[in-house]
Amino acid sequence: DTAVSQTPKYLVTQMGNDKSIKCEQNLGHDTMYWYKQDSKKFLKIMFSYNNKELIINETVPNRFSPKSPDKAHLNLHINSLELGDSAVYFCASSLADRSGGYTFGSGTRLTVV
């Protein structure tokens, strides 16, 4: 009964490809997020999304786009992958008022070669 599940766990792909990472939460949370963790463990928020608004971290390249088919899913689509996109990507979710903190998925390790 994984609360926040991401697939795939590992993704190795070539530069220039387009890829997607899927995220699903079964907690009934209203808001979902995508974080990027670099090799130095630094966590950077990429997107925050609920059914009302999408908040985008302005430093995220527009090659990255979140897609939410419904409240329980927030997928991350990446176009024209670059070497610098290699990182671990974490999906997370929370209640709209964030009163319970954030629940994170297990991460997707993306390697661009």
Binding site: F42, I45, I55, N57, A92, S99, Y102
Partner: protein, 115 residues
């Protein structure tokens, strides 16, 4: 804009030693504060959180943190660490609940506990 600073990037302790990890934040309004732990190869897990009330917050696994508003700090403490506490620790700050705020994480502190 909000920001979080974790002073200690790497901490090495022996088992049974006491732990204090520093966290200072920068934000001009009401804040909500979190500490997360990331064990090797795993995802982030919530250790404790502060929203309001008693500034001394107790979390899981014997951790606690104290919110000192005047110092803009939310330091994490544990009186006696164990080898299993080896992990990355992240402090995070967020604006008022219910608002459209993007949470911000510190750069993390890597804790290694020697048996």
């Amino acid at each position: 804009a909000q920001s979080v600073s974790q002073h200690n990037h790497h901490v090495i302790l022996s088992e049974a030693a006491s732990l204090e990890l520093g966290c200072n934040y920068s934000y001009g309004g009401t804040v909500n504060l979190f500490w997360y732990v990331q064990y090797p190869g795993q995802h982030l897990q919530l250790l404790l959180k502060y929203f309001s009330g008693d500034p001394l917050v107790k979390g899981i696994k014997g951790f606690e943190a104290e919110f000192i508003k005047s110092k803009f700090s939310f330091n994490l403490r544990k009186p006696s660490v164990q080898w299993s506490d080896t992990a990355e620790y992240f402090c995070a700050v967020m604006g008022p609940l219910g608002g459209s705020y993007i949470p911000t994480f510190g750069r993390g502190t890597s804790l290694i506990v020697h048996p």
